[in-house]
Amino acid sequence: MRVLLPLEPLDQTTRQTTADGAPAVEVLSAEKVFANGARGLAPIDLSIADGEFLTLIGPSGCGKSTLLKLIANLIEPSDGRLLWWRGDFAQVGQEGRRLAFVFQEPTLMPWARVEANVRLPLEFGNMPRATADPKVAEAIARVGLSKFNRHFPRQLSGGMKMRVSIARALVTDPNLLLMDEPFGALDEFTRNKLDDDLVNLSWERKLTTVFVTHSIYEAVFLSTRIIVMAANPGRIFRTMTIDQPQPRDQGFRDSPKFAVYCRELSTWLAEASLQSAGGGVS
């Protein structure tokens, strides 16, 4: 296990980039101060390598969702900037530079059938039905819901709705997948099942994934790198690399190494919470 030192704000030297290829996302001293004056995020430096599965974890208020929204360009940084594939956000959406976001809630259109929900992002780009339909069918098949493509969301369970939401993200053939606690509301069994699928999926499609969660087990199972964040102000506390072969399966969950990672991460989270409560280093 390779453990990096805690990242200090504005410390450019600890920025990570993989040796091969350009990073997918670079966060350059980006900070967020909310309208009410609260410091959501202290200046953060972070580089997300192509093909990486990065998980953000930390006590509530640590700014992990804020950081994810910055990466999604859903909000603008108060200072600093972000780069996507070494460029600004305007060129995101081109071939090979697509981004998809999966929210905490499935956020499906209740009046539309599964297939119409999944087709929606393609309709934004005015893709003709003939081109779109095979893609829609493939995305629905990938999440195992082919039998339900004519169902309405209310006829599906929570886990199935989340699968539809993931299919809707996949249909655009994204390169960067951002997920904000997508399985937080699901029971542990369903969550493990979806995690298994997600690990395979991101491996198959060579996705760069940024994932926010509260679950230590989920973070260790999925990630190639985990960023532990602390609050007041939101900042990166420590970084853990999970140096295990991909794609992973139940065998990894049952392995002694898994338990070691989890214990370590749990200790770090406790420390992060303590620092957050005490006002930390700010």
Binding site: L74, F101, F103, T107, M109
Partner: protein, 266 residues
């Protein structure tokens, strides 16, 4: 096949009908025993006899009222929806115009009807305008509310995918507003009828109308109380049928997905 009495649809129709029959029977028997004279308060059989006897003239009056009601209802739906779309385009438009919509709503139609009837030469048109004014507000307020009540998560999704304003309107705002819109339709259909009848009363006192309200006025002048009740019965029946039609329409459109129209599954 379930027994008839356990079928929800049957009970929903049969129960109120049974209550109605009991009430009518009590009315008939009670008034017969007390020998209340017909010119004071008629029995159901008297009203029914009058309905048959005055059939053609009542039917003609019903058609007149129905025409005004439907014209006003359609006008209110079109106008109200257009105004609602205008309101959600910009906060400034809504803020500056909404008070006037309220003004329209709170002014009693009886008070402005004489003015409209004097100003507009065509009686039919003046009645339609009065009824439209009454029926308009629920459409405006409900549709505006619906168009604004966008699921924030979905709105985020649309914004993230850089959906155009038009796509957002057609794919997100309009379908989301439908349940509210249909709620507005139910209220508005009844109000269109009320507006039409009230306007007819005002016009009828000037002898310039021939709808059901005029029948009631005319029957009052001649102390033909059963005919008054017969006309009243037709107005009520029209209102109930309009409401039922709106309920059926909203069920037909929303039953697939909206909670208000979906039955709990066993």
């Amino acid at each position: 096949m379930k027994p008839l009495f356990e079928s929800e649809a049957f009970v929903r129709i049969a129960a109120p009908v049974a209550v109605g029959i009991v009430l009518f029977a009590m009315w008939e028997v009670g008034f017969r025993l007390a020998s209340v004279p017909v010119y004071l308060f008629p029995k159901p059989t008297d009203i029914f006899a009058s309905l048959l006897h005055n059939g053609p003239s009542l039917l003609r009056a019903l058609l007149v009222t129905l025409r005004v009601t439907l014209q006003a209802f359609v006008a209110a739906v079109i106008l109200g929806t257009l105004i609602a779309f205008m309101f959600v385009q910009s906060r400034a438009i809504e803020v500056s115009l909404f008070p006037y919509a309220v003004l329209l709503q709170v002014t009693p139609v009886v008070a402005i009807a004489p003015l409209i009837i004097i100003l507009v030469k065509n009686t039919q048109l003046s009645l339609t305008i009065c009824a439209t004014l009454v029926a308009l507000f629920p459409i405006i307020s409900n549709t505006t509310l619906g168009l604004r009540s966008v699921d924030p998560g979905l709105a985020n999704f649309f914004r993230m995918n850089r959906a155009s304003r038009f796509k957002t309107l057609v794919k997100l705002r309009v379908p989301g507003a439908l349940p509210y819109f249909f709620g507005g339709l139910r209220i508005s259909s009844g109000l269109a009828l009320i507006g039409a009848v009230v306007a007819e009363f005002v016009a009828g006192t000037g002898g310039r109308s021939s709808g059901l309200a005029y029948e009631i006025l005319d029957a009052g002048f001649t102390l033909d109380i059963p005919r008054m009740f017969a006309a009243l019965f037709l107005i009520t029946l029209t209102g109930v049928l309009l409401f039922a039609a709106m309920v059926a329409l909203s069920q037909w459109v929303l039953s697939d997905w909206h909670d208000s129209e979906t039955r709990a599954e066993a």
